[in-house]
């Protein structure tokens, strides 16, 4: 298992509040990694450190052995794509225009719409299933459609790594699974996916690699079938439960036992 994206002794804090202390982690290449844990356990914060939205107070988030903060902005943005929890679209922007913004790290002062840009945007809209919406204003779309547009923006960035912060929140159950299916297809095409997921059953079903966090520490990591059992769920979430095989996929499925 190789890993280009790693965390070494990472200490993160918001103001005075320490979110994680000396956290180390390898994100396996070409796999779907799900990060799970209770609220405020530092899972979003960890992702934000990788895409340098948060500067660590100790240790480092590394890409190819180099601290992410040392990369020129556009160079890192060609390697790591990130979808935040609640992105805000500019007023009156149309779907195609918004997706095209994902090309920014590939553009320069004199080249703002190359053939490669056009192809990447078309491909991204196609993959995210928003081609039909291309000329619609983003603010008129439903929550599920809007989320797919944002995914398309990140795909248009054509990064080998995709980091998503709770991409399924605010989506109804069908759209949640559609999005997870899309992420697994992207993984199949060779991209590395790292997603913070709220639903541990979805994480077990889709992830190749599961990282369970609590209080900013890695409690367990590995393939879900190996690491997820009742003891772990109780340790991470304080939830008494039984773990049974998912009747469809055979992945571990958590069922509360009270």
């Amino acid at each position: 298992m190789t890993a280009r994206l790693t965390a070494r002794d990472l200490t993160l804090r918001y103001g005075d509040r320490v979110v994680s202390t000396r956290l180390s982690l390898d994100v396996p290449d070409g796999a779907f990694t799900a990060v799970v844990g209770p609220n405020a356990c530092g899972k979003s914060t960890l992702l934000r450190a990788f895409v340098r939205l948060l500067r660590p107070t100790g240790g480092a988030a590394l890409f190819d052995g180099r601290a992410v903060g040392e990369y020129p902005g556009k160079e890192l943005a060609r390697a790591l794509g990130f979808l935040p929890q609640e992105p805000v679209a500019p007023e009156d922007v149309r779907v195609r225009q918004l997706v095209a913004r994902g090309r920014f790290p590939h553009q320069s002062l004199l080249s703002t719409w190359s053939v490669a840009d056009e192809e990447a945007v078309a491909e991204a809209m196609d993959a995210a299933g928003v081609t039909d919406l291309a000329d619609r204003p983003v603010h008129e779309l439903s929550g599920g459609q809007r989320q797919r547009v944002w995914v398309a923006l990140v795909l248009a960035q054509r990064t080998p790594y995709l980091l998503l912060d709770e991409p399924t929140s605010f989506l109804d159950i069908t759209h949640q699974y559609q999005l997870l299916e899309l992420l697994s297809r992207l993984r199949d095409q060779g991209r590395t996916v790292i997603a913070v997921l709220h639903d541990i059953n979805q994480a077990c079903r889709y992830a190749d690699h599961l990282v369970a966090l609590r209080d900013g520490r890695v409690v367990a990591e590995g393939p879900p079938s190996r690491v997820v059992d009742a003891a772990l769920v109780d340790k991470v979430f304080d939830l008494p439960c039984v773990v049974v095989p998912d009747p469809v996929t055979g992945a571990p499925m958590v069922v509360p036992s009270f």
Binding site: D92, L110, S111, S114, E118
Partner: protein, 340 residues
């Protein structure tokens, strides 16, 4: 949405057709108003006379047009564009249509700086420019520090800015009242924001400064538009946001302060131009070019109106822009307050 795509070698651009149509129309309006401004005055000059004067073939009678009306028309265009982009910059950073420099006190602060330069120093063009830039920067810093807890966006910064603006307006009145008579008279007519009596001598330094600032802004325009996606996505698509914001604030304050140094605090052009421009151009976010073009047209039109309303007495253009813009501000405030 049809768009024009231009590709040649490593150069490539995509322009929405509506943006193109808007730009062409705005340029025509600006040229038309410019011609009208050259014709209009105590004595009406026919367009033929204007062209003769501009080409220098009319001899002595062209002086009025070349040396009196032309600098006024050009300053309307350039200052209007500068105020428009300054408004777009601050509305973009604060993500609030109310967050424009004239509302949050930067005009008044720049004017305070200029007044100090005028009353304490001798008030040369360079001193006025320096004084008003310093005043603008100090005000921007103060507003930022007071509003910092609430972040850059949101109504908090705007409300604090409005309070700072009110205080500075009082300070400005106090300085004018305390000043010697001739200084007070000069400052008084200037305090409303006026292009009356602007001549070439007043414009050399400001035009050079504004040209430099607008070129710098053009170089950063793509990153500026990208930052309209909000802090997170802007950073993760490669915008160096902290440095960009610092540059933008300096450019925005520079534009506001330079205009204020020559023409006084002309209110509401910076507030209204970006919003009108983006609606007319049908462009997302708070785009810079439509703001500049609309600002130029607004200030020019406002100045013509100011000259014509009580002719032969020329009103300060700030009176016209305040009267029109004030209504717009009230409408915007009620809309914003309802939204939050």
């Amino acid at each position: 949405m049809t768009a024009l795509v231009l590709r040649r070698g490593p150069v490539s651009f995509r322009v929405e057709r509506r943006t193109l149509v808007f730009t062409a129309a705005a340029v025509l309006v600006i040229l038309g108003l410019g011609l009208l401004g050259l014709c209009y005055g105590a004595v009406w000059a026919s367009p033929a006379k204007v062209f003769a004067a501009l080409s220098g073939s009319s001899g002595g009678s062209g002086v009025v047009i070349r040396d009196w009306r032309l600098p006024r028309v050009l300053s309307g265009v350039v200052f209007g564009a500068a105020l428009g982009v300054a408004g777009a910059i601050f509305q973009g950073i604060t993500r609030n249509p109310l967050g424009s420099p004239d509302v949050i006190g930067l005009d008044s602060g720049a004017y305070t700086g200029a007044l100090i330069a005028l009353t304490v120093l001798s008030g040369t063009s360079a001193q006025l420019t320096t004084g008003s830039v310093a005043g603008g920067v100090v005000t921007a810093t103060a507003v930022y520090l007071l509003a910092r807890k609430g972040g850059l966006s949101g109504l908090r910064l705007v409300v604090i800015g409005i309070a700072v603006n009110a205080m500075l307006t009082a300070v400005n009145s106090w300085i004018v009242l305390r000043a010697e008579l001739e200084v007070a008279i000069a400052a008084g007519s200037w305090s409303a924001g006026s292009l009356n009596g602007v001549g070439w001598d007043d414009l050399a330094i400001p035009f050079a400064v504004l040209a430099m600032l607008l070129v710098l802004l053009a170089l950063r325009s793509q990153a500026t538009h990208q930052s309209g996606l909000g802090g997170e996505v802007a950073v993760t698509t490669g915008v160096g946001l902290e440095r960009l914001r610092l540059h933008l604030v300096l450019i925005g304050v520079g534009c506001t302060a330079t205009v204020t140094a020559v023409a006084g605090p002309i209110a509401f052009v910076a507030l209204a131009a970006p919003q009108i421009g983006r609606r007319l151009a049908g462009a997302p976010g708070v785009p810079l070019l439509p703001a500049a073009l609309t600002g130029a047209a607004l200030l020019q039109g406002g100045d013509l109106l100011a000259q014509a309303l009580l002719a032969p007495v020329a009103l300060p253009v700030g009176v016209v822009s305040t009267a029109i813009g004030g209504c717009y501000l009230i409408w915007l405030l009620t809309k914003e307050v309802r939204r939050t």
